[in-house]
């Protein structure tokens, strides 16, 4: 699919320069989330939990065929219908086909990254179906026709003032309406949508193979309504979302909530166990689970990148990331942004399509410390960088400069000479002509070389 990834450097510059409110909103929100995550981890033996979770996910991913088969069997035993989608197009066809077959005119959606990934809403709308995003952040973005900028807080790049403006124009709220007032106005609209909807579409946080249970975590209650009020519930689920047993789920529900928001558990946890058993019972008449590959088996087959499939989409790495904080997710040009996006997107889309994301990191390591399933994001970024170098996907000037450095650094005499020349150039400001220092000096004063190198000082004797 078309993405805006290749424009990362230009877009990030544009956001920082032209829309400074984004940096302010994103920095404030992510630092608050990150602080809550730290507190949430501090209340438990987080290292032990994280190691355990890493182990469960590794086991599941290395036995994925077995657990997928078990999940399908259990889902069907529960009365749910299972569909397999090899790619985004198949997933869209399956969901649209279900909607058409059921005569659906109106859909309510719970927040779901995978439905963003497969670009579902436009095809539903093209089929004449009304679509309501019911997560408050997603609802705001739907009104603005913007994609989410964060896995968990899709609209966290927006300020309160921007939402006040939007709701005043669209929902007739007061221009200075407080957040409660704004939420109430959205709730009025969405309540009607829930009652009239024929189909509810969600993602899934987890799919338990042992019991065929679709597990969903949320704080707003909209997912509970989405999965229980309409006639038909469709859960679109990435195949990496599996957990083997119900007891595993108990741990993951808690760890994911702590990583995401510092909460001991989400305010609502929905465990979907198939459709209503008898006509007249509560719950949908039909439950469909669409299992989506869309590049995941390619990631799984990759020597290193498979570790990124442990991801539980908590957003902790985005919240911890000082790179993400400057721009929010839109700079990255794809639905999965921030540190996890930079290691997952090359696997899902192909490295060529995902350049230069592996280089959109200072390798500071804050993401790895935050990750509840211990994905070694900096190491994976380095692996993608290595592949990018091998495939010649980096600028030739950069490759030449590093090859030059290696040639000089393995010849001590040449190294000493180059150091002297470099110092002279630096002292006169002529170093600006060097390709990398030209970029450097766009936003910074040039470094000042020492008048004499340490080597000189050592030779003369250090008192």
């Amino acid at each position: 699919m078309a993405t805006g990834i290749k424009d990362y450097a230009a877009r990030s510059r544009e956001i920082i320069r032209e829309d400074p409110g984004v940096r302010e909103s994103v920095t404030g929100a992510t630092i608050a989330f990150d602080e809550k995550r730290r507190q949430g981890y501090a209340e438990v033996d987080a290292d032990a939990w994280r190691r355990w979770a890493e182990g469960v996910k590794n086991h599941t991913l290395t036995h994925l065929d077995r657990y997928l088969a078990e999940a399908e069997e259990q889902l069907q035993a529960n009365g749910a219908q299972v569909h397999w989608a090899a790619d985004a197009a198949e997933a869209r066809e399956i969901v649209t086909g279900l909607a058409v077959r059921h005569g659906v005119r109106s859909v309510v959606k719970g927040k779901s990254m995978v439905t963003e990934e497969i670009d579902l809403n436009p095809v539903l709308e093209a089929a004449g179906i009304e679509v309501f995003e019911t997560d408050l952040g997603e609802y705001i973005l739907q009104l603005l026709e913007e994609p989410p900028s964060h896995i968990l807080g899709p609209a966290l790049h927006k300020s309160l003032e921007q939402v006040q403006e939007l709701f005043a124009d669209r929902l007739d709220t007061a221009r200075d309406g407080d957040p409660d007032t704004l939420a109430r106005a959205a709730r009025e609209v969405l309540r009607g949508a829930f009652i009239h909807a024929d189909m509810g579409i969600t993602g899934a946080n987890f799919l338990v193979a042992e019991t065929g249970t679709v597990a969903l975590i949320e704080n707003e209650g909209n997912i509970r309504l989405t999965t229980s009020l309409p006639r038909v519930h469709v859960a679109v689920v990435g195949i990496e979302k599996l957990l083997p047993r119900m007891t595993d789920l108990a741990g993951f529900l808690q760890l994911t909530a702590r990583a995401a928001t510092g909460q001991p558990i989400g305010c609502f946890v929905s465990l979907i166990q198939g459709p209503a058993a008898d006509p007249g019972d509560d719950g949908p008449e039909e439950v469909h689970v669409v299992l989506v590959d869309n590049g995941r088996t390619d990631v799984l087959a990759h020597e290193h990148a498979w570790e990124a499939l442990r991801c539980v989409r908590c957003g902790a790495c985005l919240n911890a990331c000082p790179v993400y904080r400057q721009t929010g997710g839109h700079a990255y040009g794809y639905v999965y942004s921030g540190p996890i996006g930079s290691v997952l997107d090359p696997g899902l889309l192909g490295l060529h399509e995902a350049m230069p994301l592996p280089f959109a990191s200072s390798l500071c390591g804050a993401c790895e410390d935050a990750c509840p399933v211990r994905i070694p994001i900096p190491e994976l970024l380095l692996e993608w960088r290595r592949e990018a170098q091998e495939e010649g996907l980096t600028p030739w000037k950069e490759r030449a400069a590093l090859a030059g450095l290696a040639s000089v650094a393995t010849r001590p005499g040449l190294y000493r000479l180059a150091g002297k020349i470099g110092s002279r150039l630096g002292a006169t400001g002529a170093a600006r002509v060097l390709p990398m220092l030209g970029e450097w000096s766009k936003d910074r004063a040039l470094p000042k070389p020492s008048p004499r190198t340490f080597r000189d000082l050592w030779r003369e004797g250090i008192e």
Partner: protein, 255 residues
């Protein structure tokens, strides 16, 4: 204690005086310091860019110079680097890089085991935390390089030493946040890199010095702060500590 000093290319050319202060400090603490003259760059720029072959060549050169063999013909008990980032390259990334069985893996592990960042060496190897009171009256903010902080886990060592020399280490809201240097990152993603420096500079408390054991971070932060017109004095950790020992670092002391 015999110490082979690995100055690192950045300190050699941009922080020569600070590197000399590191040597003075090590001698003051009773170390016999040598400087193997054929040393060059540790190879981190190539490693971080994904240029594995070139990084390995530079690592092999460094292994030759610093005698990473288990029997250690270079004769030093320890290799000390005045840079947390380059110390991490040698201690953590050389063993990852030199994974082929045989000589280089063995030598890389041997060198990794006896290499130290300066602050790490003083606190953890020498067991020294007090360095006189030459920094009394100085208000200092500490910038930790990310490799020192999250790879070597030197969460307290620099502050401990500065306080051990009498300084007041002032809390910094963005204390543990990356400054945005990241080597190649600073020239590839220059706008984001500069914005990250701004976040550090915007939250900087009122201090006399910003002290860091990582020259790369300082070049970047200082370059950004000068471009912004800020007046921030950056001091390398080695210089700050030496001034502490030497008694000329206090606010009222001779400069």
């Amino acid at each position: 204690m015999k110490v082979a000093f690995f100055v690192t290319c950045l300190a050699d050319h941009y922080f020569a005086d600070a590197a000399a202060d590191a040597v003075r400090l090590l001698r003051h603490l009773g170390c016999e310091v040598s400087f193997p003259p054929d040393q060059t760059c540790c190879g981190q720029p190539a490693y971080n860019a994904g240029r594995t072959g070139e990084a390995l060549r530079m690592a092999e050169h460094t292994l030759d110079v610093f005698g990473g063999q288990p029997d250690n013909p270079a004769g030093a008990d320890a290799v000390v680097l005045p840079s947390g980032s380059c110390a991490t390259m040698v201690k953590k990334f050389y063993p990852r890089l030199a994974t082929s069985p045989g000589a280089s893996a063995v030598r890389a592990t041997a060198l990794a085991e006896r290499s130290w960042d300066l602050a790490e060496f003083i606190v953890r190897r020498l067991g020294v935390t007090r360095l006189g009171d030459g920094l009394a009256g100085r208000r200092i903010a500490v910038h930790q390089g990310c490799h020192a902080l999250r790879e070597l886990r030197l969460e307290t060592e620099p502050a401990t030493l500065l306080e051990g020399a009498g300084a007041e280490v002032v809390p910094w809201e963005a204390q543990e946040e990356c400054c945005g240097f990241g080597g190649l990152f600073s020239v590839k993603m220059t706008a984001v890199s500069a914005a990250m420096a701004d976040r550090k500079l915007e939250t900087l408390p009122d201090v006399d010095w910003v002290v860091s054991g990582d020259g790369g971070c300082v070049l970047h932060l200082d370059g950004r702060s000068r471009a912004r017109g800020d007046r921030v004095e950056f001091v390398h950790l080695a210089t700050a500590l030496w001034r502490g020992v030497n008694g000329d670092g206090g606010k009222t002391g001779a400069k």
